[in-house]
Symmetry: C2
């Protein structure tokens, strides 16, 4: 462990960004073994809330013991696994629990779990007593490359995902790729899709690394995963730093997400994991991109990588349902829906489509054959 | 109306404040008759959510018709009167309603009501789709001089007031003193206590104006109220500008609030209005201040003004209950509770008291005789 490479990255949004904050990120195989040292000052003399799930606590909870030892006192908070954690009801339970446990404005919250745990934990931290500081220790690949970075927090309403939340930059993010070894293959593949999403539009060398090490990544090898997580982190933080409140450039990170969210929503967040839904969203964006000049070779390169990753089949879906959902997307504005489309490998563009119904034939073709001409 | 004086003030927190925002405030008798003009650009082409209560809509709702006419479409939202509006459950109902009504990131929310409506409305706006812009049109004196200003939003948990929330600066605050004429005397007096609180520590000329015009203020005369609201607004915004996230100086605004919140909390937010509870909190702070050198003449000057205002009697309370509540105050930190104490008229200080139990005799004396030696 001691010899494993440790990657350090920093997000600093201090001036006039509309979303000020400073996040120190440490990535590597075994980084949690250093958490007591890294977070010692941060928790000293404080009440520390640790939000996790029973499963994670059982599997990896002891790795946080040095952090626990450094705090004045520790209050363990629990939520459930997966998207079911992200409800306003779960948030209310945590707020009440934290208040009853004597939480103060200078208390701290550490989230230890996947993206749903950091999304819920960040939202609860950002609103408890009008905001206490938080740290995320993401335990899924999805959370390490995406969800725990960039300050977005939120919970879901019945009508849509992440529809209640705020921007809160964690003080630290500690991404230990060792804990990823216990993830099932499906979970690793789903998380990897977010790394692919960023690499395809923003980091072609990173895409090459994913292509070259795909079997090791899907096998959960910590040493192979660390540089991929580090590259995705660097990409995401650079975009966030340029556009912390998602005015424009940050929207590039939504590649695949407009239709992907609709697929998830129409399926009731069942039958398909988030990353897999986003992968299908990227496949659809490729077809729209090709209609606007995306070279076929660039489109096929992504199709091939997604094909090698072994996505589960797309469940049966109705184009009208998807379109209705897209229209309610929280990124929609009064003027229409902005799609992120690839122009070529390493370059994306935002395209505002005001007439959603015109997309119906393209969605129908996509549902009939998601892989486009590769499948032909 | 057209000839009534209109006061303009601006809060600009653009750089590195940890709570960026820009608020334009307009104060005066009849300012809402100009709202269509002032907010026309702000709502143009947008979905406008108007949050109010049935009572307010009946009494004054039509004054907003020009704003309604300027929006692309209007969705009316309702909550209940008073503190009962400030629950996580009410927030959840509004979030769901806004999403179902097709709210977007560029939608707008206007709160039209007292402090509970702007607190709830600001919280819901700040978290819906991770934040939409909002405007407050406060309709109580309390909200005009305090609650709607400075960006604090929040709802209550069973264990404490304003324990869930965030900082969100409204784009506009329109304070029309004409609508105050329909308030009952008790409500005017309670609101005036917050203006007294600010004037006593931060604006001695403002205190003189309140002393000189007290009967007109308690009678709800719009022209007398306008300069008092304007002075309180100027004081509050200057403190907020210096310290947007309540690190230190902003805490001066908590004069009277540490014991005042405890009085309200122990009484279950019944039997005493917020401003009246804060007035009793100030009376208690005067006794602590006198023990540290506050001149008796300065203390008595405030006691006399509060006496003239006609506070209702303090209900029977237990010192131990109050102390337990103070210890759970959200402004408490691990190191103790910070009290705002007057040093002399126009000057306050923050005093950290780590040993709360030492206050018990002082609280018992206060409960036995809240008016101190004035009553002797």
């Amino acid at each position: 462990m001691a010899s494993a490479e440790l990657y350090s990255q920093t997000l600093d949004l201090s001036e006039g960004s509309g979303s000020a904050g400073h996040t120190e990120v440490r990535i590597g195989a075994g980084v949690l073994s250093k958490a007591g040292e890294l977070l010692g000052d941060w928790v000293q003399g404080r009440t520390l809330f640790i939000l996790s799930t029973p499963n994670l606590r059982r599997l990896h909870g002891a790795t946080l013991d040095p952090v626990r030892a450094a705090a004045r006192r520790v209050v363990e908070l629990e939520t459930v696994d997966g998207e079911a954690a992200k409800t306003t009801g779960e948030a209310a339970i945590l707020w009440e629990r934290m208040l009853a446990a004597g939480g103060k404005r200078d208390s701290r919250l550490l989230s230890f779990g996947g993206g749903s745990v950091s999304d819920l934990g960040g939202f609860v931290a950002g609103t408890f007593l009008r905001g206490i500081a938080c740290v995320h220790c993401p335990t899924t690949l999805l959370a390490q490359v995406d969800a725990a970075l960039g300050g977005k927090t939120g919970v879901d309403l019945s009508g849509g995902k992440n529809t209640v939340g705020l921007f809160l930059h964690p003080d630290w993010v500690l991404s230990d790729t060792l804990v990823l070894a216990t993830l099932p293959l499906d979970e690793l593949r789903s998380g990897l899709m977010e790394a692919v999403k960023m690499a395809y539009l923003l980091d072609p060398p990173g895409l090459e690394r994913i292509e070259a090490t795909l079997p090791d990544l899907l096998a959960g090898r910590a040493d192979a995963l660390a540089p991929v997580v580090a590259a995705a982190t660097a990409t995401k933080l650079s975009v966030v730093a340029a556009d912390p409140r998602e005015g424009n450039r940050r929207r590039l990170l939504n590649f695949g997400h407009t239709l992907g969210h609709a697929i998830e929503g129409v399926l009731g967040y069942e039958d398909l994991r988030h990353g897999d839904a986003i992968a299908y969203g990227m496949l659809f964006a490729l077809t729209l991109g090709e209609g606007r000049g995306l070279p076929a070779a660039d489109a096929d390169r992504l199709r091939q990588l997604l094909g090698r990753a072994g996505l589960p089949a797309l469940p049966s879906l109705d184009a009208a349902d998807l379109l209705a959902y897209v229209g309610r997307d929280k990124k929609a504005t009064e003027g229409g829906v902005t799609w992120v489309l690839p122009r070529r490998l390493g370059e994306g563009e935002m395209v505002l489509l005001s007439d959603l119904s015109s997309l119906r034939p393209a969605i129908e073709r996509f549902l009939a054959d998601p892989w486009g001409h590769l499948a032909g």
